[in-house]
């Protein structure tokens, strides 16, 4: 008894924070050991949204994986779509037409805008700035209108196909996009005014969750969180895929890797992404959007309706699935949270033998204890927000 109570100061309180706690997004549990308000120890438990993504992929055809990728990072589903499609195309060894590449870039960047907006908005919400949250939700709603116009769904888009896209850009898309961006920029600057220079906000996020660059690399950080540490690593620049090498955009980097840097990087990336979309719309070439390989890209309905051989071939590809050659590839794209890698193994059958995702927020979440030890319990809120842990991606 006296041993425990000997020192009043080191009396600890162990609290379950999560899984069903507003800050943990319902999908993670922090086991927090508190001394007063200070975090002595933090254990992270994930897996509350483990839905067996890889197992489901292995039991479906290559095409049927697309809906599952939508739900990996459900904040930016299009990037997941594109990443998976690129990986399969790399496995097969096909190159998609120019126009398709541009449209994919537009889709990716729209998705990234929505992702960062959601993230900053949620960060604001959990720090109590409800109005900033709703301004960005409003802006995101507009971006989603664009995505819906393009893909036919708001969140789970299922838009990209192996060797192409489901459909082309709709009419009037460019004009609508420019209109939407105009309003988005207004809302962006409103949020900027509400948060960026507001000392209450700065006090909350600055010097919290700092991470030295080397340590961040060792922990496997990628994306905005790594760039906030001052490392300008961006897959779009390092290994340009699609037509990112033709786009003129800057990579925002921070200095200390604290939450304020992460926030600033994300805010700036929204701007850069809007620039990219505008450039891509400007440079958009004509031409087809799908590869002319009926075996890998499901055939056009014209052929199916009119030609019996096409119809039979269609039945074969749908029922058996397309069959990429045996082999394995790893392909990384820059998703909202960082490097999203797809590692595919094909055994030459119609189903993926192995479809592994390298989730960008997985290492970020793993570094939570490192970032939180010795801080206050309230610091969990901005830190966890700014690493933007997405359950679907982290737990798969």
């Amino acid at each position: 008894m006296s041993e425990i109570a000997k020192d009043l100061h080191t009396e600890h309180m162990v609290i379950n924070m999560g899984p069903s706690h507003p800050v943990t997004h319902g999908t993670v549990k922090f086991l927090v050991t508190l001394d007063g308000e200070t975090i002595e120890d933090l254990k992270v438990e994930i897996g509350y949204l483990h839905r067996g993504f890889e197992k489901m992929c292995e039991s479906g055809t290559w095409y049927q994986v697309f809906p599952y990728t939508d739900r990996l990072n459900y904040v930016s589903p299009l990037i997941n779509n594109v990443g998976y499609a690129l990986a399969v195309e790399k496995l097969i060894g096909i190159d998609v037409p120019e126009r398709c590449k541009y449209v994919r870039v537009i889709a990716c960047e729209l998705s990234r805008i929505a992702d960062h907006m959601t993230n900053v908005a949620a960060g604001g919400l959990e720090l109590g700035a409800f109005t900033a949250f709703l301004y960005f939700v409003e802006a995101r709603e507009l971006v989603w209108d664009l995505i819906e116009m393009l893909c036919g769904a708001r969140v789970t888009t299922n838009y990209v196909r192996i060797g192409g896209l489901k459909n082309d850009l709709p009419d009037g898309f460019k004009q609508k996009t420019l209109e939407v961006f105009k309003r988005c920029r207004v809302l962006w600057s409103d949020v900027n005014k509400l948060l960026t220079k507001n000392r209450v906000f700065i006090d909350r996020v600055r010097d919290v969750g700092t991470m030295p660059a080397e340590e961040a690399i060792a922990y496997g950080f990628t994306g905005p969180c790594l760039r906030a540490c001052g490392v300008p690593y961006d897959v779009r620049k390092a290994n340009p895929y699609l037509v990112y090498d033709r786009m003129d955009f800057e990579v925002p980097i921070g200095e200390t890797g604290d939450n304020f840097d992460k926030y600033l990087v994300r805010m700036e990336e929204i701007n850069q992404s809007m620039r990219i979309v505008e450039q891509a719309l400007e440079q958009l070439p004509g031409g087809p959007i799908n590869v002319d390989m009926p075996y890998y890209r499901w055939q056009s309905k014209d052929d199916i309706y009119n030609r019996i051989d096409s119809l039979i071939f269609h039945f074969k590809t749908v029922i058996e699935g397309i069959k990429p050659p045996p082999g394995e590839v790893y392909l990384a794209v820059e998703s909202g949270n960082g490097e999203l890698g797809f590692y595919l193994v094909s055994d030459g059958s119609g189903k993926p033998y192995k479809c592994r995702v390298r989730p960008p927020c997985f290492p970020l979440t793993a570094a939570m204890p490192r970032m939180m030890k010795g801080r206050l319990i309230a610091d969990i809120v901005p830190t966890f927000d700014m690493i933007n842990m997405i359950g679907g991606e982290c737990d798969r």
Partner: protein
């Protein structure tokens, strides 16, 4: 005195309202209790420790400073009311008083008793 009776009436009315609410809510409304429900909420898990632990001594220090500075404020009220009558003399008087307590504030500040994140 009549003013205080008004206060009393107000207090009684307030108490009656609040009490009435408590009684009403305890009478109306369905009730059902079982162990799982009666456990304190902890994000859908069972609590690991009971909250009957001792908490940090910092909270005690806050209450302590509060007591001291509250007394200070209490002395300041009559002084503020009388300020114009007491004039310079009263001002100096109070400044000495405040300075001595400001020393106390600076002491606790220096001592780090006002630091919450250690």
């Amino acid at each position: 005195m009549s003013e205080y009776i008004h206060v009393l009436i107000m207090l009684v009315l307030a108490a009656a309202t609040a009490g009435g609410m408590l009684v009403a809510t305890s009478l109306i409304g369905p009730k059902k209790s079982f162990i799982d429900k009666m456990e304190p909420f902890e994000c859908g898990e069972s609590p690991i420790v009971s909250p009957k632990l001792r908490f940090s001594v910092k909270f005690y220090l806050v209450a302590l400073f509060f007591v001291i500075f509250d007394i200070e404020a209490v002395y300041a009220y009559p002084w503020a009311v009388l300020f114009k009558e007491l004039g310079l003399f009263g001002f100096i008087e109070m400044m000495i008083f405040l300075t001595i307590l400001a020393i106390g504030l600076i002491y606790v500040w220096r001592r780090g008793a006002l630091e919450w994140d250690r």
